[in-house]
């Protein structure tokens, strides 16, 4: 598993927990609402962090690829 797949898994878990939290909140069950809401918070934070990590990694990969192309052109000269 890498960070992008972990981010997707965390997002799915957050999306699963959020409706349960809303449902328990509407039903007036504060304990279950707290449990599901905190699960949503954890997975949402984890998702945001991993997506941020993934996006910056992809940017670094693009920089490396671009540099390699320019190096290759320089060698041909």
């Amino acid at each position: 598993m890498n960070a992008s797949r972990a981010a997707l898994a965390a997002l799915v878990l957050a999306a699963t927990a959020a409706p349960a939290a809303a449902e328990d909140g509407a039903a007036g069950d504060p304990h279950r609402w707290a449990l599901w809401t905190s699960c949503t918070v954890v997975f949402a934070l984890l998702t945001a962090f991993l997506v941020w990590t993934h996006r910056r990694t992809q940017a670094d990969v693009r920089r490396l690829e671009s540099a390699e192309e320019r190096l290759s052109r320089l060698e041909k000269k």
């Binding site: 707290a34 984890l46 990694t57 990969v61 690829e65 540099a67 320089l74």
Partner: protein
């Protein structure tokens, strides 16, 4: 986040023409690029997720009894408290890595300190977020400014947010590693304040210590506190690999700039 296989070369092998030679500081696991060691990475992930699975089993086996005593929301403690313990651990390791950076100037330890600080920041956000939700149920308020534990935890979050911003702001400054290391060590001074806030300053809302009702709950919490740092080390590793890749990109770009100047 796929491994950049198209731009890497095997560890120990000479780099392709035009590429800089292998930098022993470019990665921690001997490879020129991150994600080079897939098997240890998978083994780490397997241990982390197997541990969480075992924890789930323990929680499921004792939940009905504890729910009768406390209520379902008590399950939050199984990730709120371990997240706080992991946060302490990462704050401490970040400062230790900073001390090594100051002593040796090692870029590897600089990257480790940076990744540890970022992971600690995420953990701090999780501790605050889950604590607020729990507080809303337990005390009826999302936040209590009069509570020293909450206040010192929020200060810790702002301090490590500052640490992250410092790392980005001084990205091209050669003094960045030194300043960040000193900041990480100084920021650790807040850790005893967070931990002993209730003992030293009293409490408005947050309980001094969560008293375990049964040996089963105590044991499950111990398992949670053992397993979660393993998972967060996995997250740390993802962050560290990204920083290693960024450092590699910087090295290649610097070499490219020098070559372009030579060509002109």
């Amino acid at each position: 986040m796929n491994a950049p296989a198209d731009i890497s070369h095997p560890a120990g092998m000479p780099p392709p023409a035009g590429m800089p030679p292998d930098d022993p500081d470019a990665g921690d696991r001997g490879g020129a690029y991150p994600f080079a060691s897939a098997i240890p990475f998978a083994a780490h992930a397997a241990v982390a997720f197997a541990g969480v699975g075992w924890l789930d089993h323990l929680i499921a086996s004792l939940a009905p009894q504890a729910v009768k005593q406390i209520g379902t929301s008590y399950l939050i403690q199984y990730y709120h408290v371990p997240a706080a313990i992991s946060m302490y651990l990462f704050f401490l390791l970040c400062a230790v890595a900073g001390i090594v950076v100051l002593a040796t100037g090692s870029p590897v330890w600089d990257r480790r300190a940076h990744a540890l600080g970022l992971t600690a920041l995420l953990l701090n956000a999780i501790v605050l977020g889950t604590g607020m939700v729990w507080g809303k149920t337990a005390w009826g308020v999302w936040w209590d400014w009069a509570d020293p534990r909450l206040l010192t935890s929020a200060v810790a979050f702002l301090m490590y947010l500052g640490y992250s911003m410092l790392q980005d702001a001084l990205r091209d400054d050669p003094r960045r590693a030194k300043f960040a290391a000193i900041y990480g060590i100084v920021a650790l001074l807040n850790l005893p304040l967070v931990h002993y806030a209730i003992k030293w300053f009293g409490t408005a809302s947050h309980p001094a210590d969560v008293k375990m009702k049964t040996p089963e709950i105590s044991m499950t919490l111990s398992v949670a506190m053992s397993v979660f740092p393993v998972f967060w080390l996995l997250v740390y590793r993802w962050v560290h690999d990204r920083l290693a890749l960024a450092a590699r990109a910087e090295t290649v770009m610097a070499r490219l700039r020098r070559l372009e100047e030579d060509v002109r």
